[in-house]
Symmetry: C2
Subunit: 226 residues, 2 copies
Amino acid sequence: MKIAVLGTGTVGPTLAGALAGLGHDVVIGTRDPQATLARTEPGRMGAAPFAQWHAAHSQIGVAAFAEAAAGADIVVNATNGGGSLGALTAAGAANLAGKVVIDVANPLDFSHGMPPSLSPVNTDSLAEQIQRAFPEARVVKTLNTMTASVMVDPAAVAGGDHSVFVSGNDAEAKKTVAGLLKGFGHRDIIDLGDITTARGAEMIMPLWLRLWGALGTGQFNFKIVR
Amino acid sequence: MKIAVLGTGTVGPTLAGALAGLGHDVVIGTRDPQATLARTEPGRMGAAPFAQWHAAHSQIGVAAFAEAAAGADIVVNATNGGGSLGALTAAGAANLAGKVVIDVANPLDFSHGMPPSLSPVNTDSLAEQIQRAFPEARVVKTLNTMTASVMVDPAAVAGGDHSVFVSGNDAEAKKTVAGLLKGFGHRDIIDLGDITTARGAEMIMPLWLRLWGALGTGQFNFKIVR
């Protein structure tokens, strides 16, 4: 499939690389491709500068948000949560209409100090904001409950014996997403329900952040034991 | 140990019965003991009326909040979240001072419809509100992330292969609570950190509620796989 991954932090390149490795035709979307490729500083979590990553993944295109989304069947929102609505607006409603939009972002709010809180939260979610802003997109929330490396390589934690959630209004879109998740090796895919259930998946992030602190690693995941 | 369990819904009697079964000296605290014992209607989740439960657990005393707390070494807040500060105020700051106060409540807010949202949330938590209101109490948040029956019988779900969290400012208090949790059969007890980490544990509740809907049962729990 032709997949646009919007976002050049840790999550976007991780997902793009893994999807390309599975044989998909992947383009990374960014606000300003020239600026992104010119970056020399490492990423927030110590990731390699984008150009260095891209040199090792030259089959993956780099394009402006709108161009990346226009050519794709599936669009992945891997931008930071605070910038997601802006990035998707730049991608263009017409370029998202009818497409599966996979939202993996967390609406982290750093204005109250560390660890970040969430905004929106509780009576709304980022996924719902995106669905409302782009009513013709088929938004599916998933993968936001784990660190990037576990998203694409679940087997790295306990052989993959843990859970991933999907939320969305469109059953076919969730089926498409489940197929991609299985491609990564996810086995326990729990359909929480419509897009409002993304509130639950997003609100697990504050616990994830405390567990990251308590365990001293992001290499963990939630398993729903039943 | 002498333990007061405040609250006569599903959680309070479940915890009280299990603690008594482990040999603790347990009293249930309620606003008006006569009114509680006179109830004939079943509980919210179809639980037996309190008097019927009490007839089968006559070794457990029933007392007003203050009397129950005054005689206890450990106080468990199992009241509903919206009423917890009022119940603990009725119990009396002097009767909580220096004691381990185990907060298992969730601050569910039904004012926005079903499923409930949370209040407080995100930049505060019920556990922190309680700790601020009763600074001499040694508040530990725990057990709020699972249904009552799993709290006291973790082995009923996958033989107990799942996790429970503790949050609190007092390391000794958390050690005491861990001992009680082990008494119930909990094996993976994760210390999230100080009382502010209760935000994480409380904010898992919206996901719990969606999972309850998606799975059609409350007989599940979170395991932190690492």
